[in-house]
Symmetry: C2
């Protein structure tokens, strides 16, 4: 990286180190699930950070945390942010980097306004979206889904974790009134979580579209019996049925050589989970992603054939229910051009790319013009304590986001449509 | 069944219905894990039942519950019993039948002594062994293992459940002093948990030996990453590795046509178990049982070969640790003969057989002469709410156990050696 901007910002790096101390794990990651003590402590620190710098802090009715800079009374707002929560034993950068980059970029713009060096047409607000990760409370991207009207707030608040705690209970002291200011546009920066930028030696990814995805909830139902004494032929072992599915899902990825197909099972619950009982039920999720929706459709057909065969061979029932699906979805081309021009001005190498992972911007882009930016991830390591992005790449991202937000806050509403 | 004994005992059936009400489930089973409120309530009811009929109740230092009939001051005791705890969503008969059969048989003998119709040489005690099932607190057969010195009491008391509650905490109000009276012999009756008796139309199984078994704890270690964005070739998916093992363990059973081999995985825990995270670790158990120890040894060899292949192909580490093993173990032949003669006198059909499941008698038989009896299980259904044994078979078992206990309490110490 050798861009046309101040490459060292010790204050940003110090603040990022502080952020990384909330829920810090011995192996260098963070464990900060939504609504956990570590998440709540970090939110409190961040709210104070915003207040100290003149942002007006607002928490909405699902726990999204905003810091508002009202430069033009009554004008719509440009939103920018990401999420502070993490996966269990997750990385320091996923989400938290984007929130802090947004806050620092907004603070820079505010200083420019205060110094009389720039006069925006729109206001700016930083946001920490509640529960992007969805590991403790399902589904993921909960806060931005409620904000964009894709998920009912009442349903989200009633969601329970494994210990039967509801979102409403976990966030009892952190809920406020709904956000009412009109939103003009949205910008988010995130670590790539893949290694395309690293492999190509490019600093900035300009996200043009999401991969298509289909997600399923699966219930395998067998019959509980004694592991020792039950004759093998009499067994209806839900775990054997579910294990055959996991293996089949992995093999699907290898059958699509033309378009990449990413397949996985992440959640897998066995009942009754006793060492001497043949399991009666397994609940699992299946996650299929590809840039090519036809590849996913073909994979689902193969999966249904496998399920029919496994049901008969193992003697179990298998229920496959689509829980979430999206086609390849474009981000606005105007936003990509705007970000490319900004990167050009700063001398930052950049390339267009797709995002495989979902982000809060995936929700926002369906409601308002949205810009999504990536910085490199070392080795593409993600959802892992070893996640890393180089300081210089982090700072290049802050510089670019500042430039993009300057454009978004300056221009007329129609720029991205 | 048409034996030479009183075939109707409404009091036994009523008491059994009462027992089945503790932890009763809507589907007709029971959920009464060791130390749970349902288990403790049932123990209290049973202690009162014993007290009301003149038994002296004693609870030892691991929570085994005894009811003592002291006919001959200072004489050794014949023990008889089983366990009142159940698997989660388990059956009504497993264990509870044997405890109640022992109690009723002992009460009959006590009435005979009181009426002056019989003069025993030994005392008799009924026992409810603590935590035979091992689903909440591992290992199974905990109470009888501590009683027979196979497991340290301190280690057992420190064992935790999934919620970090220790045995000492769960049983805090139910622990007493160690049992000190010399034990002369032991008798246990249990439902078969298989369908050999049903298939052959025989009422009584005389247990001659246990199947051999090897049990393993397995840890599959991969690397946590993002289910969406991580390139398939970069994944080290612990769940895929573990699923391949489950499938391989099932297939082992089909490779041994000569000796039956029962294989299973009952416990299977995935970390972090989040829908968008490639699992970093799976912990599971493997249970292999056969009447032929050589078949188990050969199966373990095949398993090790599979593990080596899966480790390389999936890119995970797999650690296989033997947790428990036993060879085919005989029950004393003299006890089998004694029980056969008693069945003959009552006109009950009977046959010799092995037990595949472990029982508290498996521990006791290594310390004292032990008799193990089975009554039929409808369809061999076990560890399942649908478990059933016909009333007439239950009552035939009580009659036979009364006869066996009469012999054991009458005879000289050497009878079974």
């Amino acid at each position: 990286v050798s861009g046309d901007y101040e490459p060292i910002d010790q204050e940003f790096l110090d603040d990022f180190a502080t952020l990384s101390s909330f829920g810090a794990t011995p192996a260098g990651g963070v464990d900060r699930e939504a609504g956990s003590p570590a998440d709540l402590a970090q939110r409190a620190w961040f709210a104070q950070w915003l207040t100290d710098r003149g942002f007006r802090v607002h928490t909405d009715d699902i726990g999204n945390l905003f810091g508002m800079l009202e430069w033009v009374p009554g004008a719509p707002v440009v939103l920018t942010g990401s999420h502070l929560d993490s996966q269990p034993l997750g990385g320091r950068y996923d989400g938290a980097y984007g929130v802090l980059a947004s806050a620092h970029a907004a603070h820079r713009l505010n200083q420019k306004v205060a110094a009389g060096g720039w006069r925006p047409s729109l206001n700016l607000a930083v946001v920490d979206w509640f529960n992007e990760e969805g590991s403790r409370f399902t589904p993921s991207m909960m806060g931005s889904s409620v904000f964009t009207g894709k998920l009912a707030g009442s349903a989200a608040l009633a969601t329970t974790d494994a210990g039967s705690v509801t979102v409403a209970e976990a966030m009892a002291d952190s809920l406020g009134q709904p956000w009412t200011t009109p939103v003009q546009s949205y910008a988010e920066i995130h670590v790539e979580q893949g290694r395309i930028l690293e492999d190509t030696g490019v600093t900035i990814g300009l996200v043009t579209a999401t991969w298509a995805a289909q997600k399923f909830d699966v219930v395998v139902t067998g019959e509980q019996s004694h592991t020792g004494s039950t004759v093998m032929a009499d067994r209806h072992d839900a775990l054997v049925g579910a294990a055959r599915l996991v293996v089949a899902v992995r093999e699907l990825a290898e059958r699509f050589a033309d378009a990449p197909l990413h397949t996985s099972v992440g959640r897998f619950d066995v009942l009754p989970n006793s060492p001497v009982v043949v399991p009666r039920e397994v609940r699992l999720n299946i996650d299929l992603r590809s840039p090519d929706p036809a590849a996913i459709a073909a994979a689902v057909d193969l999966l249904r054939t496998t399920i029919a065969a496994v049901s008969v061979e193992v003697g179990v029932e298998i229920d496959l229910a689509l829980s979430h699906a999206w086609d390849q979805q474009p981000y606005p081309a105007a936003g990509v051009s705007l970000a490319a021009a900004a990167a050009q001005r700063l001398g930052l190498s950049h390339q267009e790319m797709m995002t495989i992972a979902g982000h809060d911007s995936t929700n926002l882009k369906d409601q308002v013009p949205t810009v999504m930016l990536f910085v490199p991830s070392v080795g593409g390591v993600a959802h892992n304590e070893g996640e890393l992005t180089a300081d210089e790449d982090c700072l290049a991202g802050v510089a670019l986001l500042s430039e993009v937000l300057t454009d978004l806050c300056s221009e007329a509403p129609a720029i991205l449509r």
